[in-house]
């Protein structure tokens, strides 16, 4: 009496899987974009010579890094009704074809805040690895602090941080699975839904794992391309 594998459930439920994949991609893409923006701002703050700016940036980083992501998601989702606080979210939700605006944006916000904190540390390390001489040289040429950061330091730092940044982006893609606990119908949710209806959890889990591997490989691939592009013209790339 073995276990009869029934791979046809995957075809029966392909809509659920495809919708789940699309939702995961939406969460991941928006999450990556905004956590990178926030992470860069925070990271520049953390690397600042000003004690107080660095301190306040570290408040953000330490708070959001040390609280589990699922706790952040629950806190945001169950305490606040985001669509009432930010009315424009409803139109975005319609634009992105999201059934449950509140759950999606709560999960997205938590993902952004959480990953942004980690990216902040990555960016800080990247900026700190640029030789100090460059700051001084640029300033002696008459640039103020913002110009130095924006034109000289940050672009170089971006190239250096691409490997750890990629790793944070991959973490974000994997962490998007937590959105299922507050009801977002993404990939991991699809696995459990198929299992609940057909008791074919093994087949569903196999398909979804393959999809996640596909997502992470594609992202790594693109980040590699970006790294190569940024490394053109750099001597010891």
């Amino acid at each position: 009496m073995g276990y009869e594998f029934d791979w046809h459930v995957l075809i029966e439920y392909k809509e659920l899987l495809i919708n789940g994949l699309i939702t995961t991609i939406k969460l991941s893409a928006l999450g990556i974009l905004f956590s990178f923006i926030i992470g860069s701002i925070v990271g520049i703050g953390r690397a600042s010579k000003n004690f107080w700016i660095s301190l306040f940036a570290s408040y953000y980083v330490e708070s959001f890094r040390n609280i589990p992501l699922i706790v952040q998601m629950f806190f945001i989702y169950f305490t606040f009704t985001l669509s009432q606080i930010f009315p424009f979210l409803n139109s975005w939700g319609n634009f992105l074809h999201i059934n449950d605006v509140d759950a999606f944006f709560s999960a997205l916000l938590a993902l952004i805040l959480y990953t942004g904190a980690y990216i902040g540390e990555v960016v800080k390390a990247g900026i700190n690895s640029i030789p100090k001489g460059q700051f001084e040289a640029a300033q002696s040429l008459g640039m103020n602090r913002f110009q130095v950061m924006w034109y000289i330091i940050y672009p170089q730092a971006v190239r250096i941080i691409i490997p750890p940044l990629t790793s944070q982006f991959l973490n974000l893609i994997k962490n998007s699975s937590l959105a299922m606990t507050i009801g977002v119908a993404e990939l991991t949710f699809a696995t459990q839904q198929i299992d609940a209806e057909t008791f074919r959890g093994f087949e569903a889990a196999t398909a979804v794992t393959i999809l996640y591997i596909f997502l992470t490989l594609t992202t790594s691939f693109f980040m590699n391309l970006i790294e190569i592009k940024f490394s053109k013209g750099v001597k010891n790339a």
């Binding site: 009496m1 301190l55 589990p68 952040q72 699975s177 991991t188 093994f202 889990a205 794992t209 992470t216």
Partner: protein, 272 residues
């Protein structure tokens, strides 16, 4: 004047931390007054609730205690399993290296939630198919297995990086002194490598500690699930989850500060 305050804090660490705590508490209080003016903390902070949160149901192990048990057992087991795979991954022998690569990359590409799902729902199926026995795993054990498998892949990478960081010269020196490969490994390379890896291990433990909250999905009544059970009865999400966040933060933050101190000590030792 700001510069003076800054210097003062650099010299007096304790007052610095008091200052930090006061600022953060003030910021949180301002946030609370804007976002959620009427708090009902007293309804939540009863002795029964606290006992349930920290110790679980009377007569069972649960709550924060179970969180620690999950984290500690998993890090302990994954230390061994991860080391095996890490050394295998580092090895140059293809037959050993390739399965290790598959194991590590597969687990690192899968979300922890999926690994938990695999272990809880798929292993009984697996054992039925191949061993014709109905495997019976309790949620807690399934959680430990899932955490161990997942963490061992990351530990394997830490171990590989640690061994890689030992200068090649040591291998050659040992060989010239007549050590065999395994002797070199056990007596020379590994002790140095593991000492270097300690900070990475501690940070992995902190991450695992936070991830225990995911055991919630298969019904393990650890700290987070206990909180959601109370919330299901009282519907006080702001009070309950902010308390939960505070507890996790305090523990995780202290552990990472401790790891920083450890890192500094190790660096001093290695550069002595």
């Amino acid at each position: 004047m700001l510069k003076n305050i800054e210097n003062y804090f650099k010299k007096h660490k304790f007052q610095f931390w008091i200052f930090n705590t006061v600022i953060i508490v003030t910021l949180l209080k301002i946030f609370q007054m804007i976002a959620y003016p009427e708090t009902h903390f007293s309804e939540f902070f009863t002795k029964d609730n606290m006992r349930f949160l920290f110790f679980g149901k009377p007569g069972e192990i649960g709550g924060l205690v179970l969180t620690f048990i999950l984290a500690i057992s998993s890090i302990f087991l994954s230390f061994f399993i991860g080391s095996i795979f890490g050394i295998a991954r580092w090895s140059k022998i293809k037959i050993i290296k390739i399965p290790a690569i598959i194991y590590i990359e597969l687990l690192r590409a899968t979300p922890l939630l999926m690994v938990i799902f695999w272990v809880f729902f798929a292993i009984p199926v697996f054992s039925m198919a191949f061993f014709h026995t109905q495997a019976h795993v309790s949620p807690t054990v399934a959680a430990i297995i899932a955490f161990t498998l997942f963490t061992s892949a990351y530990v394997a990478e830490i171990v590989r990086a640690g061994i890689n960081s030992i200068p090649k010269g040591q291998f050659e020196a040992a060989k010239s002194l007549g050590f065999t490969s395994s002797q070199t490994f056990i007596h020379i390379i590994l002790p140095q490598a593991y000492r270097k890896m300690i900070p990475a291990f501690v940070s992995q433990f902190v991450a695992l500690f936070k991830d225990t909250s995911l055991a919630y999905t298969i019904g393990v009544i650890e700290f987070f699930r206990a909180a959601t059970i109370i919330n299901n009865r009282l519907y006080l999400s702001f009070e309950i989850f902010s308390f939960v966040a505070l507890v996790y933060f305090s523990i995780a933050f202290s552990m990472s500060k401790f790891s920083h101190k450890l890192e500094k000590k190790v660096e001093k030792q290695l550069n002595a």
